[in-house]
Symmetry: C2
Subunit: 226 residues, 2 copies
Amino acid sequence: MINNKKTTLDCCVMSSTIQKRTGRKTPAERAAEIAEAAKEIALEQGLSAITLRNVAARVGVASGLVAHYQPNVDALVAGIFATIVAAETDEVSGLLDRLPTPLERLGMLLETLMDNSRIDVTAIWVEAWTLGRRNEALAACVREQMDAWQEVVQGVVEAGIVAGEFETFDASSVAWQILGMVDGLNAQALVRWDGVSDRGTHLARAVEGMVGAARGSLGSSGRAQT
Amino acid sequence: MINNKKTTLDCCVMSSTIQKRTGRKTPAERAAEIAEAAKEIALEQGLSAITLRNVAARVGVASGLVAHYQPNVDALVAGIFATIVAAETDEVSGLLDRLPTPLERLGMLLETLMDNSRIDVTAIWVEAWTLGRRNEALAACVREQMDAWQEVVQGVVEAGIVAGEFETFDASSVAWQILGMVDGLNAQALVRWDGVSDRGTHLARAVEGMVGAARGSLGSSGRAQT
DNA sequence: CTTGTTGTTGATCATGCGATCAATAAGGAA
DNA sequence: TTCCTTATTGATCGCATGATCAACAACAAG
């Protein structure tokens, strides 16, 4: 049997300044590396591509090490899902806060969610809906993240009612409804991106009808970047 | 090694009339059995539970036999998906044909699709969207079946425009949009069935806005069976 | 320098998957 | 009856998964 022990040759070849350790790492560092790798894999190949060996290979460590940092793979998948999705929620939510009126906020919300730049996240949502059937931890995260989204939308709708811009009796249900519609349309775009022109416009019109806003008030007419 | 050859004892114990063969079966019969078993598995546990061994076990044959009837498992999955979904399309489409006006037809369409009695089929749709990423045959079937659905909806919308009940410039896009919304809301119900009251009503209102129908004309008010 | 903690490895186990194929036997044809 | 087609079996291969664990070595503390 040939000696396959790694000498420490391939490590520690760095400039003198920061001296990044290539050998042993802090648990926090390693955990971050693993999370980052898993996140990339999820976005590129889907949640089900998150396997011990897959993640380990991307980080460049043994598969056992990845297992060492989580109780089990299901938990890792659930955690990564929550990370990715929560980041999106926060980002979009932050975008809305800058706008003055609920009408503008709702318009921006729809426009942002339909701009096709988040297809990878949509794919993760869809996969999570299915995977949650057999991964209880993931299912819990899915429900939690859906609630978070709903809260954001409901806030906008309620503000609109108060401002007299919207007219609907049940902000909570309407928020769920808007989310469902957006998710469905995005999921559709996952498989069939063509065939539908003016997705934004039609959706805006639909939401106007649901929210009781004037026809055309949600626009998607002006500020498009094309 | 104990003799494990099956004597023909457990076969052919039937009344004299139809004489169902338990031993060897016609290729058509076997294929039907396998398809039926796979369909049940898909509806109960999802498309990804369709495996050679799983299906074989349910039929009561060797796994090799299942493989014998299809070129590969991907094709089997795709075929079963198409079977299940096409049946639903036909069923609902048939229901619509009995109604006189496009307005009623559209109302019935929404009502039927949102009545929660087809959650299993919704689950299959959602799973297919993800699985299609790695199963080209399935992806093709998904697109095909989506087209079929879209055609049905578009027909209703166009009829409504002709009848002067609807007012929209692009029946095709609106049809896609309605489908996307319905799918999204159903997928949502897959994980979160609670929280939303009056799903039907809100959707009806949204579609009215999109289609240009009078507010409340799509009802979901009268004929409910509760 | 010595010692002890622990990050890290590499191998291994049990399981499940799709696919393949020689061997068997059932059943219709001659 | 005999023969031949083919439905059917059961075993096997190669591969991937999650999990586990003894052994190793890097690093800090003494």
